[in-house]
Each structure stands twice: as C-alpha cells, then as structure tokens.
C-alpha cells in the first residue's frame, strides 16, 4: 500500500509517497499561478493508492480530488515526530509563514502559534534581502556566518528592511556584515515566537529556511541546544501527511481518479 501526502504551500508544492512507513519518493515544484496543474504534474510522476493534502491549498485539492485534508500544524507534527521520535518542539519557517508547534510526549499538538499576516522573517524576506545584497540564497547564509561584524537592522518589514539595506550599502558598509544583521533580526523574531510556545528539546527546525546555515548556527547558540534539521527540511509536512494517509482506513482515492 502506497500512501501519498501533498503539501501545497505558498511558494512550493511538495509530494511524498510512503510504503510501510518508509519514504520511497519525494518531489518539489514551484506553486506558480496554477497550483492545480502543478499538483497534477507532481502526481503523474509516481504511483500511489491514496493521498491526503495539507498546506494552504488543501481545500481546493479536497474539492478537486475528493482527498481528505489535515492542517499544516498536524502534518508537521506527524512528520517531525516520525523523523525524530525525540521531537517536542517544531519550528517551521516556510515561504510566507513561520510556525512554532509544541508536542506532548505522545506527539500530539499541545500548543501552536503562527506568524502569517506578514512575510517578515520568512523565506520570502530572505529572498528579497539576499537579492538586494547580490547573493544567491545559498551564499547568503554562508557569507553571513563568516562575517566578522554585525550591523543592526531595525526594520523587520520586508519593504522597509530592503530600503534600510540599500542605504547601508550606499554608506559602503560591508555586505556580509549587513547579511549577518539580517540573520540576527530574523533570529530574534523567531526566538520570541518560539518562547511563547515552547523551547523544550528536541527542537526540529523545518521548512525551506532551515537550509540556511547561519540561522541554524545562531539558533543553536541562542537556545543552548542543537536544533535537529531533517535531511530535506522542506518535505516534513508532505511526509507527515503521507504518514497520516497511511493510517487512515477507508480511503482509496487511487491515482486513476486523478488522470
């Protein structure tokens, strides 16, 4: 029995297929202006017996494919717990939102908070600022980590931070120091969200922004513990959704339906 989970996010769509609790397939694509077509494309690449959707697009998926859904919160909880059985806290920084989730000792969600009204401190914010500084996303974290200085950034709004960075560059400030400052600003914002929810170890750091080496290192220092980062941090939600699909009885929306 092959169960699939699809996580339809604001920036990317992730598909994971599991068989006997093992991940046997994963794929990521951009959401684009036509998420439905992108979902079809992902599903065409692989065979599965049933599928469950999560992410902000889960309801249109539910309507089109008669698939059951769960929220990102539950999907991330299930996925992180499956990958790291010791997980008690999840931090997920995605394209346009940040979530902090506390789990009880059984792995059930006991509290959560989301910052999703504004892109400050999310993947989108990083992308915009990296571009302003002339870095690609990979370099951005690495250069920030290497920086010797740290220039304080006062704005957390994407628009204002961008103009602040532009004027710092005009004043001939070192761009790696600005990069470090940006990461510090995201760190502080993330910590305050995390502290409102939980910092109980182990903390699993997921979502696209978990690929950023500087933020990982800053989080480790600030929290006094090593955050756990999955091999592929972007697919934790889709993996969780697939694991939940596997356990659900009485759903068999096999792939034939989606053709």
């Amino acid at each position: 029995m092959r169960a699939a989970g699809i996580d339809i996010g604001s920036r990317t769509i992730k598909l994971v297929v599991v068989e006997n609790g093992q991940m046997i397939h994963s794929a990521i694509t951009d959401t684009t202006h036509d998420p439905l077509e992108q979902c079809r494309r992902l599903m065409d690449q692989v065979y599965f017996d049933k599928i469950l959707a999560t992410g902000y697009g889960r309801h249109f998926f539910e309507t089109h494919f008669e698939a059951p859904t769960v929220t990102e919160i539950k999907a991330f909880a299930r996925g992180a717990k499956a990958l790291f059985p010791s997980c008690r806290t999840i931090l997920d920084i995605g394209g346009q939102d940040t979530k902090a989730i506390a789990l009880d000792d059984k792995g059930n969600v006991s509290k959560f908070e989301m910052n999703d009204r504004c892109a400050a401190g999310t993947g989108m914010f990083l992308e915009v600022i990296a571009k302003t500084l002339g870095y690609d996303l990979d370099e951005f974290g690495k250069e920030a980590l290497k920086a010797e200085g740290n220039i304080q950034i006062n704005s957390m709004c994407t628009v204002f931070a961008q103009s602040e960075v532009t004027s710092l560059l005009a004043r001939r400030q070192k761009r790696e120091d600005i990069a470090r400052g940006i990461h510090m600003a995201i760190l502080n914002r993330t910590l305050s969200l995390l502290k409102r929810v939980s910092t109980t170890p182990d903390i699993v750091f997921a979502g696209g922004v978990a690929k950023n080496s500087c933020l990982k290192s800053l989080l480790n220092d600030a929290l006094g513990q090593d955050v756990k980062i999955p091999e592929n941090p972007q697919i934790v939600g889709a993996f969780g959704a697939a694991m939940i699909a596997q356990e659900l009885q009485n759903i068999s929306n096999s792939k034939r339906k989606f053709a």
Binding site: Y56, T71, E72, I73, N108, V109
Partner: protein, 381 residues
C-alpha cells in the same frame, strides 16, 4: 432551524423599524445604547424606546478611518462609521445616545460622536471591588436617570423602575432559556442560528414581542431536540467562544468554527451569557440596577474575576471540549487578559485553547481557517 421562524424574525425586524418611526411621530423619545454597562431600564421606565445601535459590520469602517486611527478596534470604528455615514436607522432615530467610559478607544470616540447626536456618557469605574466604586456608579446612574427625566419629561419613580426591571428580567430569562438549549448533547441549535436570533431580537423595540418570539423558538427547538434532530452529531466538538462581543457582520469566527465541523454551544461575551445576569427585584431598584450592571465581567475591569467565575460555570454546564478566545484587533484589554484566560482554561480544565485576534474584514479568512482547523484537530485528539 425551521425556516418559518427565520421568516417571521425577518418580518418582525422590518416591522420594528416602522413601529419605531410611528412611535417617534407620536412623540416618544428614542434612546440609543451600545454597551452592556448601560442600564436600559432607565429608558424603559421613562416610557422611552431603548434601541441597540449598529457596530458589528465592516461596511462603514473605511469612512470611520477618515477620522479615527486605523489601528483601532473594529467595533469602535464600525460604531462611529455608522453614525458618521448616517447608515444606522436606530442611530438616526435616537434623541439621545448613551456612551460609557469603558476602554480608552470607546471613551474618546464618544467625544467625537457628540458631533452627530447628544451624548450622555456614563463614567464607569475601572474596578468592581471597592465600595467607592459602587457608590460612584450608583451616583452616575442617578445622574443618567435625571437626564432621561429631563429629556422625556417623565418622573422615573421607583414603581416605574420596578416594572421596567420585571420586564427586562423576563427578557433575560427568555434569552437564557434560549441559550441553554445548547446544553443538550448534541446541541439542537447551531451557534450561528443562536447568534442570528439573539442579534435580531436585540433590536426589537417591543420587548414583549421579543420575549414571546424567544419562547416560541425555545418550544420549537425543544420539539426538534425531543425528536433527536440536530445539525450536529454526538461527537461534534463543543466550543465555547469567549472574549469580545459578536453580531451579524462580525460572526466570521463562529461561521469558520462551525464550517470546520464543530458546534459553538456557548458565548461567554456581552452578546451572549453576560447579558442575562438578573437584577435583584427585592432591592431598592436604582441600587439593584447599579449592582447588576457594575458586575458585568468585561476586560476593562481590573481585576476581572467575574469572567473566570462565569467561565468556570459555563465550561461545566455546557460540557465544553475547547475554548476559543476572540479579541478584536487593537483591543488591549482583551488581548492582554487572554494570557490569564489561557492559563486558567489549561490548568483548571485541561482543555485546548485558541486565542484569535482579528477584525471584521475577510482578509485573513484562510489564516483563521488554518488556526481553527488545527485547534479542532487538537480537540479531537
């Protein structure tokens, strides 16, 4: 819910406006009220018509923002906007509008509202606990009584006040009986139905016809419940909504909760259970009125132990599975109080708790949906 009852409700609502217009032509005064701290008995006793004023819809907010700051609670902006754009018929009818010094936003807004109508602002104490508070409040209500006497030319005797109290107590009893229908499991009435009925009847000028209609609805629901009819199942999560008041136009959270498969069984707010505290009919009427109104457990009070007491009672009586605390954006008192409400709900009852901060617009519907669905997943676990 029976379609016929909603039809009647609609008809009566429209008739209500015509009735008020007619009564005004015959020389009766209309007094407009916003808040649960204002004693409508004074108006009733003077033979004036107490009316609820509009403030639950998003439409006039844009107009209000020409004057009021954007980062202000939507309830205040909506109330002001209705008045400024002259789109609330009840405001237009009002000869006198009653304000009260509850939160900072409201009391300053009432100063601006004076541009459109005569305002009588009740100075509300910020605490219920000292003797000084009650005697101060008693004095404020007495002053309000004198103002209404002057406006209407009617002497408000104790006898008139007692009659008014009897009538409003009957209304509270009927409303309570209606809300208590949801104690059944599963609830025979949805939160949206309950809210719609209470909201519309709240505008009725004729209290007796409102009471009669509520009693009729109770009978109808009783019948439905006895036949085992309900919009819900035995296992439908039962949610208590606490916090700010909600009405038609600002009911989006109730709608989202019920669309996500839960049942809102109880409203611990000023549009719900806080509005059915009875006035002691044995005491001196004006004092009994002062006591009852001051006891309203709004977050503007410091401290506000009454809210915890009421929640304790309601969570038990309505067999609640989870608590949602609603705060209107920029409402500091509810926003801050939420921290203690959460601790209380989790520590005393071990129930899942969700705090939502939003406004009247639809812009955050999807974000709210995720939170509410994730919360309900917690409730079901």
């Amino acid at each position: 819910m029976d379609f016929a009852i909603f039809n009647r409700l609609q008809q009566l609502s429209e008739q209500n406006l015509l009735d008020i217009a007619q009564a005004k032509r015959e020389g009766r005064k209309v007094i407009g009220f916003y808040c649960l701290y204002s004693p409508i008995e004074i108006a009733v006793a003077a033979g004036a018509i107490p009316v609820s004023l509009c403030g639950t819809r998003n439409d006039p907010i844009e107009a209000a923002e020409k004057v009021l700051p954007r980062n202000l609670c939507p309830l205040i902006k909506s109330s002001y906007g209705y008045a400024a754009t002259d789109t609330c018929p009840y405001f237009r009818f009002s000869d006198l509008v009653v304000g009260e010094t509850t939160c900072d936003g409201k009391k300053k807004m009432f100063e601006l509202l004076a541009e459109f109508r005569p305002i009588h602002t009740l100075q509300l104490p910020q605490t219920q606990e000292s003797d000084g508070a009650l005697s101060f409040w008693y004095h404020e209500i007495k002053k309000f009584k004198e103002r209404v006497e002057k406006e209407t030319g009617v002497m408000i005797t104790d006898e008139r006040l007692s009659d008014a109290i009897q009538l409003t107590n009957q209304e509270r009893k009927a409303k309570r009986a209606l809300m208590d229908m949801a104690k059944r499991k599963p609830s025979p009435i949805s939160g949206i139905e309950l809210l719609t009925i209470m909201f519309k009847i709240g505008f009725f000028m004729n209290k007796r016809s409102g009471i009669a209609l509520m009693n009729e609805v109770v009978d109808e629901i009783q019948k439905r419940a006895d036949q085992g009819e309900s919009p819900f199942h035995q296992k439908t999560p039962r949610i208590l909504l606490t916090g700010v008041p909600v009405g038609l136009g600002s009911e989006k959270v109730v709608r989202l909760i019920e669309k996500a498969g839960a049942s809102v069984v109880c409203f611990e707010n000023c549009s719900g259970y806080r509005s059915v505290f009875m006035i002691d009919e044995k005491k001196e009427p004006l004092r009994a009125i002062a006591e009852k109104y001051l006891a309203t457990p709004c977050s503007v009070m410091s401290p506000n132990p009454g809210r915890i007491e009421l929640l304790t009672e309601l969570i038990k009586e309505f067999s609640v599975d989870g608590v949602v605390d609603l705060t209107w954006q920029a409402c500091h008192t509810y926003n801050i109080e939420s921290f203690n409400i959460e601790k209380f709900v989790i520590n005393q009852f071990g129930l899942p708790f969700l705090h939502l901060e939003t406004d009247y617009s639809e812009s955050d519907t999807e974000q709210l949906r995720v939170r509410i669905e994730a919360f309900l997943e917690m409730v079901k676990e």
